[in-house]
């Protein structure tokens, strides 16, 4: 049984931990709001981009030829997985969820006899996948220094991916990230990047366009940009999701610390009372003996 002094120390230390988790929760809440705003502000661009792309893809499908980035190069042998995670831990199952999805995917692909290459974005994903698939990781990007994710960051990653595609290093590219559904729910998602998944064209948007310079040229410009936009969006959703997960995790931790303090305090009081009673009995029985 721990002595009274041990218990007192224990309570003090848990209280200190609780203060830290509480502070982390509040920081995450503030950052979450900013990340959410950024994710929402980026939405119009990617929505319009999807609409325009679907439209133009339809126009090009009638004749001409679409760039390989969009239709793929016809092969399905080497897969590149871009795994985007957070750079920091302490956010519940956020990072491991993404890593697990990627790992399932890798297992499935290798069982089918495909070759897999991995590009990780964010430190945690690299740390987790390194254990099992170190030889598959061909490149990694860290965004630890970046405070607010800008389009330039995503563009850089997109350029790397495209350069590797052009060099024929892989045939199919899939992006892994966590979709931000709500503060308490993030859904790990696998999204095909190359070949691009084109959405359905909206009704009524089938106006006959004129293209300047030409549909093929615009598409050639548009598709790489679309990849950057998708990565950008994934990074923003990840940032918001990370903060949401961190907030929930830290809230839980604060509550657990509270429960622990309560329990320890009861034990402490009981022991103190027991000791007082014991001392009283000693005094009284000593007095009676006289």
């Amino acid at each position: 049984m721990a002595s009274l002094k041990d218990l007192r120390n224990r309570i003090a230390s848990v209280k200190a931990t609780q203060k830290i988790t509480k502070a982390m929760q509040m920081v995450a809440a503030a950052k979450l709001r900013r990340a959410q705003e950024a994710a929402e502000a980026a939405r119009p661009y990617s929505e319009r981009m999807d609409a325009v792309l679907a439209n133009i893809a339809q126009a090009v499908a009638g004749g001409g030829e679409a760039p390989a980035l969009m239709t793929g190069n016809g092969k399905d042998d080497v897969h590149l997985l871009v795994v985007a995670t957070a750079d920091r831990g302490l956010c519940g199952g956020f990072n491991s969820q993404i890593a697990r999805l990627a790992r399932d995917h890798i297992r499935k692909l290798t069982a089918e006899g495909k070759k897999v290459k991995i590009l990780t974005v964010g430190r945690k994903g690299y740390d987790m996948l390194r254990r099992d698939y170190a030889q598959l990781i061909i490149d990694r990007v860290e965004l630890k220094e970046v405070k607010q994710i800008g389009f330039a960051n995503a563009d850089e990653i997109a350029k790397k991916v495209i350069a590797r595609f052009d060099a024929g290093e892989f045939d199919v590219c899939t992006l892994f990230y966590s979709r931000f559904k709500s503060v308490i729910s993030q859904i790990p998602t696998a999204q095909p990047l190359i070949p691009a998944a084109t959405g359905e064209t909206e009704e009524g948007s089938n106006a006959v366009y004129e293209y300047e310079p030409s549909a093929e040229e615009i598409l050639g410009d548009l598709v790489p940009r679309n990849i950057a936009v998708q990565i950008f969006r994934a990074l923003l959703e990840n940032a918001a999701g990370e903060m949401g997960a961190k907030m929930t995790a830290m809230d839980n931790a604060t509550r657990n610390a509270g429960e622990m303090i309560d329990k320890l305090t009861i034990t402490y009081n009981r022991q103190r009372q027991a000791q007082i009673t014991k001392e009283l009995i000693e005094i009284i029985s000593g007095a009676e003996a006289l």
């Binding site: 980026a42 119009p44 661009y45 389009f151 366009y209 004129e210 040229e217 950057a228 936009v229």
Partner: protein, 135 residues
């Protein structure tokens, strides 16, 4: 008063403007063009340059854009810019950095095709600089 149409300027980071305008001047890759209401549907890439917007509410707004493309329909116009800032808030150092980058790229290009593309981009940037800085 001229007819108005809906104009939206979006960059990946945010929606810069979305309002009814009378006319917009867009720096298309194949030349500047003025878009007014009921324009025939056209889609064009844009080069770095200045977008001039005349909203219905009067006045005139200028934005510096760095590449992207425009989707023009009779009922509205959407400009998807790679990066866009109000012209009066353009960071001069930032622009200079882009110019230096472009120059570096032009000088170190590996083949002729790449060099001519880089030089074109550099030229467009310096034109943009010339258009903005004295203003």
């Amino acid at each position: 008063m001229a007819e108005s149409f809906k104009f939206e300027l979006v960059s990946p980071e945010r929606l810069l403007i979305s309002e009814e305008v009378e006319q917009v001047i867009i720096p298309g890759t194949d030349g500047e063009m003025t878009v007014m209401a009921s324009h025939a549907p056209i889609m064009t890439t844009i080069k770095p340059g200045v977008v001039t917007v005349k909203p219905v509410s009067g006045g005139e707004q200028r934005y510096a854009v760095f590449g992207g493309f425009a989707d023009i329909l009779p009922q509205g116009c959407t400009l998807l810019a790679e990066s866009a800032v109000p012209a009066d808030r353009l960071d001069r150092a930032e622009l200079q950095k882009r110019i230096d980058d472009a120059r570096h790229k032009a000088e170190h290009a590996e083949d002729l095709d790449e060099r001519s593309r880089a030089e074109l981009y550099l030229h467009q940037l310096t034109t943009l600089e010339g258009a903005l800085i004295p203003a």
